[in-house]
Amino acid sequence: MTTTDNIHRYLDEAFADIPRTPETADLKEEIRGNLQARVAELEANGTTPEAAAAKAITELGDIHELIDSIGENEPAGSPGDTAARLMALNRVRVSPAYVVRTVLLAVLLAGGVTIVTVGSILGGIGIAPAWLVYALPVEAVLSGAFLGLIVGDTLGRETSQHYPTSPGRALGFGLASFAGLIGLGFVAIWFANPLLWLLLTGCVLALASLIAFIALGVTQTNRMKPWVKQLNSTYLIEDRFSQDPASAARFGLYTVVIWVLAFAGFVVLSIVVGFVWSWLALLAGLVVFFLVLARMLFPADSKVTTHKPADSNKN
C-alpha cells in the first residue's frame, strides 16, 4: 500500500489516467469531500494531519476499479442529454426553510404592493378612508423590507447554476431593492396624500436605488458555474437569431417600428382622450411586440432550415 499523506495529491494521481468528464469530476469531488470529513473526524480525535490523511486513504480502499468503470460508460448523447446529465450531476440542495420563507415573504410582498397601489388610486380619487391613507407609507416600508429580504436572501444562496453572490453585494442588492420599492411606493402614495416630504423622500430613495443598482450592475462579475457556461456556449448556436442573423436584424427593425408607433399613439391618445385610455396604446404595442418575437423565434414552418421564411413585409 503506497502511503500518501495528502488526499488532494492522492486523488490527482488516482484520476490522472482517465479522461476528465463531468462524471469523473463529480466523483472526484464527492470522494474529496468525504475524505476531508473523515480526516476532520480523525484530527478531532487527536491524530496528526498526515496520519489522518493516510488512514482516511487506506480506509477508502481501492478506487481504481471504480474510476475505470465510471470513465468507461461515458454516454455520448444529444445536447439535450448532455444538459440533463450535467443538470443531474450539479444539482444543489434547495433548503426547505428558504422556500417556505420566500413564499411567505412573496405573499406578504404581493399583499403590500396591492394595498399601496389600490390605496393610492382610491386616495387619489378621494374615496379612501383617512386611516388607510395614513397607513400606506408604513405598508410601503414593509413591502420594501419584504422585497429586500427576498432579493438579498436569494442572491446569497448557491444554486445549481450559480455561485452565491458575496455577502456584501447581496446586502447591497437587498438594500437597493428595499429603497427602490419604498421610493416608488412613496411617489404613488403622494397622489393620494400630496405631502411634499412623501414626494421628496420617494424621489431621493428611488434615485439612490437606481444609482446603487447601476453601481452594482457595472461591477457585477460572473456567477455562472462552469458547466452552465459550457452549456450556454453550445446552446447559443441553437438559438434562431444566432442561426439566422437576417431574422434578428428584421426583428430589430420591427421592434423600433412597433414602439415608435405605440409611443406616438400614446401621446396622441393622451392629448385627444386623456390618460384614462391612452395607456392602451402601450399595451397594444407590448402585445404586438411579443407576438412578433414569438413569430420570429418560432416560425410557422417549424423546420429550422436555411431558407428564408416567406414573411410579407408589413412595414
Binding site: 463529480d26 470529513a37 478506487i63 476499479e65 444543489v92 440542495r93 448557491e158
Partner: protein, 124 residues
C-alpha cells in the same frame, strides 16, 4: 456464492459476500429517516455494527451511482459554505418501496434458512 471472505488478509467471522449482496438495501436503510452524505453513510454502517463490518468506501460509491441511476435515491450537492463540498443522498418513494420489499424478502429467506439449517430430518 463463495463461503466466507475471499480476502485472505482478513478472515471475518461472517460471510462478507453475503453482506455485500445486500449493500443496496443497507444503504437505503441508513437513508430511511434522513438525508446523508457519503462519509456519514459509511460511518452509520460502521458504528451500527460496532465496527465489526467495515464496508469498503469504494463499494459504496458504486452503490450510490447504481441507486441514483435506478431512481431509488436522489443526489445533490449540499450548500455548505465552509469545509469540503458534500454530496447528499435522499431516499425516494421508489427507494422506500424497494427497501421495504427487500427487508420482507430477507426476513422470509432468513426464516427458511434458519429452519433448514436446524432441521434434523424426520428419518424413520
Amino acid at each position: 456464492m463463495t463461503p466466507k471472505s475471499a480476502d485472505p488478509a482478513q478472515s471475518e467471522p461472517f460471510a462478507s459476500d453475503l453482506l455485500r449482496g445486500h449493500t443496496d438495501t443497507i444503504v437505503l436503510g441508513t437513508l430511511r429517516n434522513t438525508e446523508r452524505y457519503g462519509f456519514e453513510i459509511y460511518k452509520t454502517i460502521r458504528d451500527a455494527t460496532g465496527g465489526d463490518y467495515e464496508i469498503k468506501e469504494a463499494t459504496l460509491y458504486a452503490t450510490f451511482r447504481r441507486l441514483v441511476k435506478d431512481g431509488l435515491v436522489d443526489a445533490y450537492w449540499g450548500d455548505e459554505t465552509q469545509g469540503g463540498r458534500r454530496k447528499y443522498y435522499r431516499i425516494t418513494d421508489a427507494g422506500r418501496a424497494v427497501y421495504t420489499r427487500n427487508v420482507a424478502d430477507w426476513n422470509a429467506t432468513q426464516r427458511i434458512i434458519n429452519t433448514l439449517l436446524t432441521h434434523k430430518g424426520t428419518d424413520s
